[in-house]
Symmetry: C2
Subunit: 491 residues, 2 copies
């Protein structure tokens, strides 16, 4: 396994890119800005999907599917939405190709021009609310708790694998409610689902909060978010949950007859996480030796490697190895026994280390004699020799320990890299020289927010939920502020 | 539940369309030719996906994801493929919108024209083989056994929900092999997977065979297919598995160093099934009372309805109903206990009947006294009163029986509607007046095939695999033929 890639210290951006490609997670495609998600990367994404999908269903949601294409005119219906979304989009203008009269390949058939252009969905509020109009007549039809797993396209100029791609995979929930309170409760419930998923599955600690008006989703009344901190000190928005008020119901004329027999506009939420989470996962835990995966999301949780000189020894080792494999699989653990004779043990060790397999077991002739197994954990790179008795239980416990350790390590990192700034100079110094989250007072205006961004590239990542009142003065304008917000440079 | 829709006899096409809409499976969207798959329909599709995905993985396949967009020039690389696919496609020509100078909505920004147009994938052979070129160097990199779950777009002029839509959901497998034999074996293995899925999960019997050259996938050397027969006597192609030879490897220059150290082109297969299967499922089993679903794919397998006059009686009934529900769920059965007081039992009966729930249990005061339950099965519409003892086991057995019965009924229907034609008059008479599959001799030429299609609208659905030699004369041309093929009018 090739280790010819820079350390995080040397070049963090290159380290990330090389890691994604060399660990077989994803690669760039022939289509600018679109990636290919390779089987190993997709296997991780599938586990994320399965866990999230179960959490959505456990909280009463169902899946559905809406069209990829959205008529152009739909984007003009919600005023804020069009500003935020209708700009960098893929536009379908024709529906046919024909043979080039010159005999070279195919050309667009100009006679097959669409009357109205179709936009490849950048997000689906418009087409979904156009649909909900027919689904909702009375309060009996509410709530609608629908989620969709889909691909979306936003024409990004500067792309990075998983973090920012023209096409990406995501889920988008779109719910409809009788009351404002119920819609807000839904928005918050989903924020909790996302938080639980990030922390318990991805082992990535996140801050919960709301966005400043400037960073809100185009068309939302309030955008809730979870924010994670990467190892280079930059923040990453890991998921958003929007309270949309009645904006889309008004734009698409979606009304219901209430229990009080009044015609009212429906209240809405939307929420999503995407393949961007793959970027967060990779950047949170991986190191200069390669990928580090939390056991709950690792496609292979345990790799077993036989150590032998002569092929005759392999049969004896395999007998033990297969027993261990079966015992582990009976506990629901995903195991690969790698008895390929075409690669040396050292090569396999590097391979599983590089690909982030949480636990590697090695069994050699001496282990057979001593009834032992060498157990190596990826997170700490520690090795120990354990007696074979109850090895399945020991490994199961170790996997749980690794899952917890990764979370704790990431939490410690975030705590070590969350700083309070009380003056503008302090703020600039931290952002420039230390990175991480900065807790600072802000006067609440978009003007100040934008000036801070201009001068430091730092943005308000989130306004923490339930922060205690803590009066002070805006680090930039000196105007009064009643609580601190979180600033950082961000992905 | 509204039953104001025609019987199959009165108007089969309308019956199908109304059923899909009124049973909340899918509906037309604001985008011409694109459907919305509603939660109840999507829940069935999810079960199909889960079953198929497991079968693919059990046969060694992994999932990945490739771009939605394909550069236009890729389509010109495989000569047959461009003829078959590059015509009716959605073409992306621009990547930005801007505010209309007139102040009305948004217009396409002409300055954001793509240098090369992008085609929304109608199928992914081209982009995938362009990718495989970088994945494959030596025989050690083979086989590649990759599947993708994705949406695709083919610009259809006449669309029908699930059966033919501009956008549809599907899976497409794309495999790469060292040898011709291995690729053919893969093609056949997948045909068996599809057959098993159709028959064991969907309860739809299918014929296995290959397509005539005229009906082959554009770019394939051989197209294997499974064909089902619908209740109106029309055939429906339910899945295809293509042996692609070295066509795509040559078009995209994908070579590998063989064990003999020679540079050779890679052998390929591709295979897919789509949301079209939903149409096959609905049309195979449903009746004039609504949807009929095979238990294995039904989102709700058992509905329990309490019968009571006074609300006081409900608590007592619920106690028994919940116990039954728990016992059934412990056996892995999907149950809904419908204790809504806002609807009458009769309304609920119609609802579950219309939505195809395989088994409905009803419990009233007299049942409490007698320790009985009324059990109604959807497939035969029969009811019986059973003692409550071991009701969970009885229902489980009944579900298995229903699954088998649906398959047997569909198989009987197909056998009753498979006829032999020995003369052209006989052939025309069957096609025109009886429908179904017709076994007839064909001279093997595309010319004859097309003339038969012109005159009768019947096409060769499949050339059965392993059919015994049975010499005769072509029903149309009188030329010699050594085995019969299957003709039918088709969806």
């Amino acid at each position: 396994m090739a280790k010819d890639f820079p350390t995080r210290e040397e070049n963090y951006a290159q380290w990330y890119n090389d890691l994604v490609i060399k660990a077989d997670l994803a690669e760039n495609s022939a289509v600018r800005g679109s990636m290919v998600i390779k089987p190993y990367g997709y296997a991780i994404w599938e586990r994320m999907q399965a866990a999230l999908d179960k959490m959505f269903k456990d909280t009463g949601h169902v899946n559905a599917y809406f069209p990829l294409f959205i008529p152009k005119s739909f984007f003009s219906k919600e005023a804020a939405h069009v500003e935020g979304f209708a700009k960098e989009c893929a536009v379908v203008t024709h529906y046919r190709l024909k043979n080039d009269p010159d005999g070279k390949g195919v050309v667009v058939d100009e006679s097959a021009k669409l009357e109205e252009e179709l936009i490849v969905r950048p997000t689906s509020e418009t087409i979904i609310w156009d649909t909900y109009r027919n689904w909702i007549q009375s309060y009996r039809d509410l709530p609608i708790l629908v989620n969709q797993w889909a691909n979306v396209v936003r024409w990004e100029m500067r792309t990075r694998l998983f973090l920012r791609t023209a096409e990406f995979l995501w889920q988008e929930g779109h719910t409809a409610h009788e009351t404002k309170e119920e819609a807000i409760a839904e928005t918050e419930k989903i924020l909790d689902v996302y938080t639980k998923f990030a922390e318990e599955w991805m082992a990535v600690p996140v801050l919960q909060g709301v966005k400043s008006p400037n960073e809100r989703f185009a068309g939302a009344v309030e955008t809730y978010c979870i924010e994670a901190l990467m190892q280079d000190g930059k923040a990453l928005q890991a998921g958003t949950s929007h309270f949309l008020g009645q904006n889309f119901a008004k734009a698409f004329d979606v009304k219901f007859l209430s229990k009080e027999n009044k015609l009212e506009h429906v209240w809405a939420t939307s929420w999503g996480v995407s393949t961007r989470l793959m970027g967060a996962l990779i950047m949170s835990h991986s190191d200069d030796n390669g990928l580090v995966l939390p056991p709950k999301l690792a496609p292979i949780q345990v790799a077993i490697v036989p150590i032998y000189r002569k092929i005759e020894q392999l049969a004896e080792i395999s007998e033990v190895a297969v027993k261990i494999k079966d015992a582990l699989e009976n506990l629901g653990i995903r195991v690969k026994y790698d008895d390929r004779d075409t690669y040396k043990p050292g090569w396999k060790f590097s391979e599983y280390e590089f690909k982030g397999v949480p636990v590697r077991l090695a069994i050699g002739p001496r282990d057979l004699e001593n009834k032992t197994v060498e157990v190596a954990r990826r997170d700490t790179l520690e090795k120990e020799v354990l007696h074979i008795e109850d090895i399945d239980i020991k490994v199961k416990n170790l996997l749980e320990q690794i899952q917890k350790n990764l979370f704790q390590k990431a939490l410690n990192f975030r705590e070590d890299n969350t700083r309070v700034a009380n003056t503008w100079d302090e703020f600039k110094d931290i952002i420039e020289n230390k990175g991480g989250f900065v807790l600072a007072h802000w006067d609440g205006t978009t003007e100040t927010e934008e000036k801070i961004k201009e001068e430091t590239k730092a943005t308000i990542r989130t306004i923490p939920l339930n922060a205690k009142s803590d009066p002070g003065n805006c680090i930039y304008s000196g105007k009064p502020s009643n609580k601190r917000v979180i600033f950082a440079r961000a992905y």
